[in-house]
């Protein structure tokens, strides 16, 4: 049997050339490796790497906006130092107030990028290709969740670092300042981890229910708006009628409970101006942790049943 001519430059494109087939005898890794591979692919996808340039715009723009105030404060640290020296009363951004102040930008980041992670494979029906490989349904969901949480963690950590550097530079004795400053900055790390996990779980759990990005995004916004507004409304009604339990409803709020929990790490009491009701930061922390568990369970439930 003669093989058709190979490597001929004149052959029309699309012909099948016979170069022989080699079997693969090498290593085959297990599911941990498959999860890691999906984690890496997801993480790259969140930031738009390996995708068209337009896919990089939204994540980097939103991340930039979120970091901007801290970076500005860092850039003007020498000016601020002079102002403080001249006796001016300057209110600076602090580690504990940064996320609560700008959390809406982080939420927008989730709205923009979370649907990308879970809708794309449903919409394009790629899931059967994963689930017929060494990748279980739950593992798929967890790898996606981990990658979003990691991306958020980095996103949130950048301004914290900028604040830290700025605070250090504002002190006359730089090296001494590092020693003074880091115990104050350190609680930001576990707080950031909590926020990342919380937002990632909520975002993916809701997004995963629709194969369409737009519906997922609307679903996320609707969920957060309603879950923030309804407890607040009931609380204000409860205030006038003298209810004793209506403040507990704030525990179901997605963003407020994360904001409240952040203060727990810094060991502060909640300011009643920002947090209505009588809840402590510890209660908010418990609520945030519970929300992570529940939302992860919802995500897992969805992926147990998602058609493939």
């Amino acid at each position: 049997m003669t093989a058709p001519s190979r490597f001929t430059a004149t052959s029309p494109a699309g012909n099948i050339y016979d170069l022989g087939y080699r079997h693969y005898e090498g290593k085959r890794n297990g599911r941990a490796y498959a999860m890691w591979s999906l984690f890496v692919e997801s993480f790259r996808g969140i930031w738009g790497f390996g995708r068209p340039t337009t896919a990089k715009v939204a994540p980097f723009l939103l991340a930039g906006f979120y970091a901007l105030p801290a970076v500005v404060q860092l850039a003007f640290s020498s000016v601020i130092t002079q102002q403080v020296a001249s006796g001016a009363n300057v209110t600076l951004l602090t580690y504990d107030s940064y996320f609560p102040a700008f959390s809406i930008l982080v939420f927008f980041f989730c709205v923009a990028q979370a649907p990308e992670l879970v809708c794309r494979d449903q919409r394009n029906q790629v899931l059967p290709l994963y689930f017929t490989r060494s990748m279980g349904r739950i593992e798929y969901a967890l790898a996606r969740l981990g990658s979003l949480a990691t991306a958020l963690f980095l996103l949130l950590l950048v301004p914290t670092l900028a604040l830290f550097v700025g605070d250090v530079l504002m002190k006359p004795d730089t090296f001494g300042a590092v020693g003074d400053e880091w115990p104050r900055a350190l609680p930001a790390v576990p707080a950031t981890a909590l926020i990342s996990a919380g937002l990632a779980a909520i975002s993916l759990a809701i997004s995963s229910f629709s194969p369409r990005r737009a519906y997922s995004a609307i679903g996320m916004v609707a969920y957060v708006l309603l879950m923030e507004a309804i407890p607040a409304a009931i609380y204000s009604i409860g205030q006038t009628s003298g209810s004793s339990w209506s403040d507990k409803l704030f525990l179901v709020t997605p963003l407020t409970s994360l904001n409240g929990a952040v203060h727990w790490f810094f060991g502060e009491k909640l300011d009643p101006q920002d947090f209505s009701g009588n809840l402590t930061s510890g209660e908010y922390l418990a609520a945030a942790l519970a929300s992570i568990v529940v939302m992860t369970a919802v995500l897992a439930y969805r992926y147990r049943r998602v058609p493939a």
Binding site: L19, G26, K27, R28, N124, P128, L129, T132, R133
Partner: protein, 306 residues
């Protein structure tokens, strides 16, 4: 060892019986899995892959149970779904490499295998372009490539020629044939197009309404039958009457006359009668079985049996 074995395998979707007590034994080769739309082909493939679990009965692939040893099976099975399954915004290389890594291939091996497999399926310069811009034929090639990239022992293809033009269809069939023969990979091709199955497969599994109609080497379906077909331009009815008068069992089928071939003398009788009647003869040939007959003949029997 049988590559695929099922024992009274059943899968019900509510009242619908997609698979109903299916008993199969598949040996290595290129196996055609034929049946009408909704006969249970896709369901069978999904059960074998462990994507869905059977309602009753059991299936084993490569000697491993499809429910309890799904993970071990999947390392050695490649699956090309019937539907579109490619994200539009990445290149073929990136996508297939990713799928290779999900199959457990280390990074460099994944890259090498991807390059090799894409070349095998006939994707060259365009493999770096985004899949969204591909033609249907190219997409089908990428789908086949991702099923082959981890060098499976068994390849399950669900309607691989769906949506292809005749040229693309022939290329895909050729590719399947080479995969089965040269690469030494057992291929199961599910299709409702019998012509395709006839072209590439060595063995045929015919299923209908979740039952096994027949399982046999493809040659047994297409061997000669004891029927002589005589085609005349006109006067087929007169020929039938004359043949009947001479004692032969004949019936008209359009311009053709089909005669039960029971002795060599029949050829002489036919020649004489045609000559006597002065009919314009086109051809005389012994009928070959066609795969279509399988369904035409078997459908009523299956119905009456069930």
């Amino acid at each position: 060892m049988a590559l695929i074995e099922t024992a009274s395998l059943s899968k019900y979707y509510g009242p619908v019986k997609a698979l109903d007590g299916l008993d199969l034994r598949v040996e290595p080769g290129i196996i055609g899995l034929v049946g009408a739309n909704g006969a249970g082909k896709s369901t069978l493939l999904k059960v074998l892959l462990g994507l869905i679990s059977p309602t009753a009965g059991r299936a084993s692939v490569l000697g491993m149970d499809s429910v309890t040893e799904t993970r071990s099976i999947r390392q050695f099975v490649g699956y090309m779904p019937e539907h579109d399954c490619l994200p539009p915004d990445v290149g073929a290389t990136e996508f297939v490499t990713h799928m290779a890594r999900i199959s457990g291939l280390p990074r460099t091996a994944a890259r090498e295998r991807t390059a090799e497999v894409l070349r095998h399926v006939g994707l060259y310069e365009e493999r770096y372009r985004q899949i969204g811009g591909y033609s249907t034929g190219m997409k089908q090639r990428v789908k086949l490539a991702q099923a082959l990239v981890h060098d499976p022992k068994l390849l399950l293809l669900d309607e691989p020629t769906n949506g292809l033009d005749p040229a693309g269809r022939d290329e895909m069939l050729d590719l399947i044939k080479r995969t089965g023969t040269e690469f030494g990979i057992t291929v199961v091709v599910a299709s409702h197009l019998l012509g395709e199955i006839e072209q590439v497969c060595t063995y045929l599994l015919a299923i209908d309404a979740g039952h096994l109609l027949r399982a046999a080497p493809i040659s047994t379906f297409t061997e000669r039958t004891p029927v002589l077909a005589v085609e005349v331009e006109e006067g087929a009815d007169r020929l039938v009457t004359a043949l009947a008068a001479s004692g032969a069992r004949a019936r008209q089928d359009g311009p053709r006359v089909l005669i039960a071939l029971n002795s060599e003398a029949l050829y002489d009788d036919v020649r004489d009668i045609v000559a006597d009647l002065g009919l314009p003869l086109v051809r005389v040939q012994q009928e070959r079985g066609r795969l279509e007959d399988l369904f035409r003949d078997a459908a009523p029997t299956a119905g009456s049996a069930g």
